[in-house]
Structure formats: structure tokens, C-alpha cells
């Protein structure tokens, strides 16, 4: 029979799994097990330091139908995320296109413009908290030196706090978008562009009909990454605003944190985490499907 051949093949396959087993076990321990545990907790009224009881779907009902603050945090996340992504892609694409030109001092610009890419969001939050300070901060300082009567409390005004958060995110992550799109542009063979130029295409036509379609893959990938990161955003918003005046900058992640670690409503925070997870996962799957179908 063939079994004499099959056995070593199988042991070899088992051996191959040994390479990945430690990682898989580790991820199960630090992610899957806590998530399963938290699913159980989400059906209870657990508060820290108090006995808990099973309350079925009550938490889910409260979050979905009674918790105005939760839905407002969803809206705030969207109000921060949508304009931030639009600005980051508009400015990032502009900078990438400019840096793709063969100009002198390109490397210098590229070095300076890439600097914020690896900055910790927490440090960005603290830095900008100082920059936004009404009296001694740099933002008002610049506005004053331009002749404005600026004494604006950027982070204390409900109408200004969201634009203030957006500005910090744009400052910090546009360079990342720029770098990825620039890499995409530089991967386009020069001959294509030259051929188009010989055929009499204008720069705008080349950009629209050659460059843009050829960096679609990069655009889609960086868009998905940015979208997920901006939904997950916590450190920067927390250090910058702590939720803003009257919770006007309270994103979903901040609201979950506040429930779990300030109000100590662990059961409810677990419920919110699950709803959040379901939202993020379905949004990602939906976008992956529709974007990649279009790109293909």
C-alpha cells in the first residue's frame, strides 16, 4: 500500500505545524480567551468589587436603545474620522505627486515630511495640548502674529474641539499616506509616462489616466489601514481632550474606557466592546469586498 509513503508525509506536516503552534497558542491565550471571557461578562452586570448576576441581553438592549451617549460617541467617531481621512488623502496625494517630480532637494523635503510618521499618538496628544493652550500656546501665537485677535480656547469650545482633533490627526498621519502613495507612484515605469507624453498627453491627463489607476492598489490598502486606525484611535484623543467639553470629543473607544475604568461598569463595557467589534469587523469586511472588487 501507499501507507509507507503517507506516514512520513504526515509526520512532516505535523512538524511544519510545530513552527506555528507557539504563536497560535499565544494569540489564543491573549486574544481569543479574553474575548470569549468578555462575551460571558457582557451578559452580566459585573462592576468591579461587587458580586455579579446574569442579566441576559439587558446590556445590549440598553446600549442599542437607551444609551444616547453611546450613539453620540459613534457619531463623534465618524465626525472626526471622515474629514480627517479626506484631508489626509487629499494632502497626501498632493505631496506624493509633488515629491514624485525630479526636483532638487527632494530628499530634504522627504526627510522632514516623514518625521511625524513614527511619533507616538500619546506624545502627539500632549504636544498639541500645549500648542492649543489659549494664552501661551503656539497656535494662538501664530494667529496673533498674523494680526488676528486670537485668544481661543481650542479644546474648551464644543464647536472647536473636533476640528482641533482632526488637525492633529492630519498632522500626524498625512506623512504616512504620502509615503505609501509616493512608493506607489515610483513603482510606475517611466517609459509609460514618456510614451504618453510623446503621444501628446498633458500632465493632468497623465495623472488622471495613468498614475491614479496604477496606484489604486496602494490607495485601497492605505485607506483601509487608515480607516481602521482612526476608528481605534484612543491615545491621542484622550491626552488631547479627555473627551472634550461635555463629552463633545468622546469617541467610541473613549466611551468604552470611561465605562470600564471610570464608572467600573465592567459588564456594560464588555457589551460596548462587543458591539464595537461587530461594527468594526462588518465595516472592514464590507469595504474589503466592495473596494477590492472595484480595484480588480
Amino acid at each position: 500500500m501507499e501507507s509507507s509513503i503517507k506516514v512520513p508525509k504526515k509526520t512532516k506536516k505535523v512538524q511544519n505545524y510545530l513552527y506555528v503552534a507557539p504563536t497560535v497558542i499565544f494569540i489564543i491565550l491573549i486574544v481569543i480567551f479574553p474575548l470569549v471571557y468578555s462575551l460571558g461578562v457582557s451578559f452580566t452586570n459585573t462592576r468591579l468589587g461587587r458580586p455579579s448576576a446574569f442579566i441576559g441581553l439587558a446590556n445590549y438592549g440598553e446600549a442599542l436603545f437607551d444609551d444616547h451617549r453611546f450613539w453620540s460617541s459613534v457619531l463623534i467617531t465618524f465626525k472626526i474620522g471622515a474629514p480627517a481621512l479626506v484631508l489626509e488623502f487629499a494632502i497626501g496625494l498632493l505631496l506624493a505627486t509633488l515629491l514624485n517630480r525630479n526636483i532638487r532637494g527632494r530628499i530634504v523635503f522627504l526627510s522632514f515630511l516623514s518625521l511625524p510618521v513614527m511619533i507616538a499618538p500619546a506624545v502627539a496628544g500632549l504636544t498639541w495640548r500645549m500648542l492649543y493652550a489659549p494664552k501661551y500656546g503656539a497656535v494662538n501665537g501664530i494667529l496673533r502674529s498674523l494680526g488676528f485677535e486670537a485668544n481661543i480656547a481650542w479644546l474648551a469650545k464644543p464647536k472647536l474641539v473636533i476640528p482641533a482633533v482632526i488637525a492633529v490627526d492630519v498632522w500626524q498621519t498625512t506623512p504616512f499616506v504620502m509615503l505609501v502613495l509616493l512608493a506607489g507612484l515610483q513603482a510606475i515605469p517611466l517609459q509609460i509616462e514618456e510614451a504618453a507624453r510623446v503621444d501628446g498627453a498633458t500632465s493632468w491627463q497623465i495623472f488622471k489616466s495613468i498614475n491614479l489607476p496604477l496606484i489604486t492598489k496602494a490607495l485601497v490598502a492605505v485607506f483601509l489601514l487608515r480607516l481602521i486606525d482612526i476608528i481605534k484611535l484612543f491615545d491621542m484623543v484622550w491626552l488631547l481632550t479627555q473627551g472634550g467639553p461635555g463629552g463633545t470629543a468622546e469617541t467610541v473607544t473613549l466611551y468604552i474606557y470611561i465605562n470600564g475604568f471610570k464608572y467600573l461598569r465592567i459588564g456594560y463595557a464588555s457589551t460596548l466592546s462587543y458591539l464595537f467589534l461587530i461594527g468594526v469587523v462588518s465595516l472592514t469586511i464590507f469595504l474589503l469586498r466592495s473596494l477590492y472588487r472595484e480595484a480588480a
Binding site: P22, P34, F109, A122, L126, R129, D235, G260, T284
Partner: protein, 279 residues
């Protein structure tokens, strides 16, 4: 009816390019420059009205204060301990995993996508149950706790980036080693590993910087014994009587690992930040 000659047009486009690049670069650099300047100012300077852009008497007193009068040294030590051990564990687990996925296609597409999906997970969703479990396991406020938790985002990152590097590695070299009598692990250790050392070092540095930058788990899972640099930074956030000089100095030190990384390894940035998705 052309308004400009071809050359004139090119000069105009160049001028606009430079103008935009210079303005954006200056706008991007102001926050960093202002923070650096604040960290070197004396007290009178940062409360000067209108604000001063260049310190009149530059001083390092805030940096000294940070290290000698507050928890600076302890925070630096904690953060480096966590970053180094986390990087070691992440690399030890990720290298064989990525190798097996790249070479033997272990688990097919599902396994690698499952590992990648961990990276998309919002940390706050895990933070709540992990906190409860850590209380039971007495891991709250320990270095070990954070070293373990930073694997959550660093392992998927490292595995995905390494898969790409292993896939790019020429199969022939490895097969030559196998024909010469090496076992698989030997070929990995003696042939593949040394040749990929620079790429692996880049991955390790990414991982270490991410560990340095992490805030949420450190914020939720530590109390008073363990304090990372990011937690030290957050202690300056109180809106009233903010310690400007110290806060700015702490921010500048917080920037440093990221800056050094960007300036020395820029060509790896795109590949790293997209986890090998774009090369």
C-alpha cells in the same frame, strides 16, 4: 494661444512645487520645533506674552529635572525593559511562524489572514477582559504583564512583514543548503537567518518602537510600580499649572526613537507600515 513657452511653464510648475512643499514642511515642523524650543526655555520665556519662538537663555534644567527630580530614570528603565523583552519574545515566536507560512504554506491562506486580523482588533476591546484576568493572575502593575500584552499587536505585525521577506528570499540558496546535508532548522539558522539579518533587524526595531510608543495597555494595566515613558508623559496633561518645560522635554524624549527610526530606515517605512502589503 499659449501664454507661456514650454520652458516658462516648467519653471512655473517648479516654483509652485517648491512653494507648496516649503509651506507644508514648515507647518509640519512647527509643532516639533516649538516643543523643542519650549523644552529649552526658562520659566520667564514660556510665559512671555506674546510667545517667544527662540529661547533667550537656552537651558537643560527641565531635562535634568525630569531625570533627577521626577520618575524619569525609572520610567526610562521600565520602558526599555519592556521594549527589549517584548521584542525578543515577538521575534522568537514570529520568525518560525512566518518561515513556515512562507515556505510550507502551513494553514493555507486562513492562518495568515487570521494572524493579520489580530492587528485590526481594537485594543480597547481586549483591555477590559484582560484587566479582569490580570487582577486574578496578579499581573496588574508588572513588567511581565505589559511584555505579554504588547505581543498582541506586535506579533501579527512581525509575522506579516517577515512572511514577505522570507518569500523574497531565493529558494535556490536554501535548497543548496538542504542538498549539502543541512536539516531544515539548520538551513534556517545557518543560511537563511544570517542572510536575512538586516531585514530581521528592521522588523525588530519596528517592534521595539511600537512597544515604546504604546499607551492604552500601560495606562489601564499599571498603577504605581511600573511607569512607562508614555505614562510619565500623560502625567503632565493636567490643564492647570502644566509644567511646560518638563512636559516639552518629556515629549522630545518620547519623539526620539521614532525620529531616529525614520531618519535612518526611511526606505523600509512603507513596507513596514503597510506590513508588507505594498513593496
Amino acid at each position: 494661444m499659449k501664454l507661456l513657452s514650454h520652458r516658462g511653464k516648467r519653471h512655473l510648475v517648479n516654483a509652485i512645487t517648491y512653494l507648496i512643499l516649503v509651506i507644508v514642511t514648515i507647518l509640519m515642523m512647527i509643532p516639533i520645533g516649538w516643543t523643542l524650543s519650549t523644552s529649552l526655555k526658562t520659566e520667564g520665556d514660556y510665559f512671555a506674552f506674546p510667545p517667544k519662538w527662540i529661547p533667550s537663555k537656552p537651558t537643560l534644567e527641565h531635562y535634568a529635572y525630569l531625570f533627577f527630580r521626577t520618575d524619569g530614570f525609572r520610567a526610562l528603565k521600565s520602558t526599555l525593559t519592556i521594549a527589549i523583552f517584548n521584542t525578543l519574545i515577538v521575534m522568537l515566536l514570529s520568525i518560525p511562524t512566518a518561515y513556515a507560512i512562507a515556505r510550507f504554506r502551513v494553514g493555507g491562506k486562513n492562518l495568515s489572514l487570521w494572524i493579520l486580523s489580530q492587528r485590526m482588533l481594537p485594543p480597547i476591546a481586549v483591555a477590559v477582559p484582560i484587566f479582569l484576568l490580570f487582577v486574578k493572575a496578579r499581573l496588574v502593575d508588572t513588567h511581565v504583564g505589559l511584555i505579554i500584552m504588547y505581543c498582541l499587536f506586535n506579533i501579527p505585525f512581525a509575522v506579516w512583514l517577515l512572511i514577505g521577506f522570507f518569500q523574497d528570499f531565493p529558494l535556490e540558496i536554501e535548497e543548496a543548503a538542504l542538498i549539502d546535508g543541512c536539516s531544515r532548522p539548520q538551513a534556517l539558522m545557518l543560511v537563511v537567518f544570517p542572510l536575512l539579518a538586516p531585514a530581521i533587524a528592521v522588523v525588530a526595531l519596528f517592534v521595539a518602537v511600537f512597544a515604546w510608543n504604546e499607551f492604552l495597555f500601560a495606562f489601564v494595566l499599571t498603577r504605581s510600580k511600573v511607569k512607562t515613558w508614555m505614562i510619565l508623559i500623560s502625567s503632565f496633561q493636567s490643564p492647570q499649572n502644566i509644567l511646560w518645560g518638563e512636559a516639552a522635554a518629556a515629549a522630545i524624549i518620547g519623539f526620539l526613537p521614532g525620529f531616529i527610526f525614520v531618519l535612518s530606515l526611511r526606505k523600509y517605512l512603507v513596507r513596514g507600515l503597510t506590513m508588507g502589503g505594498i513593496r
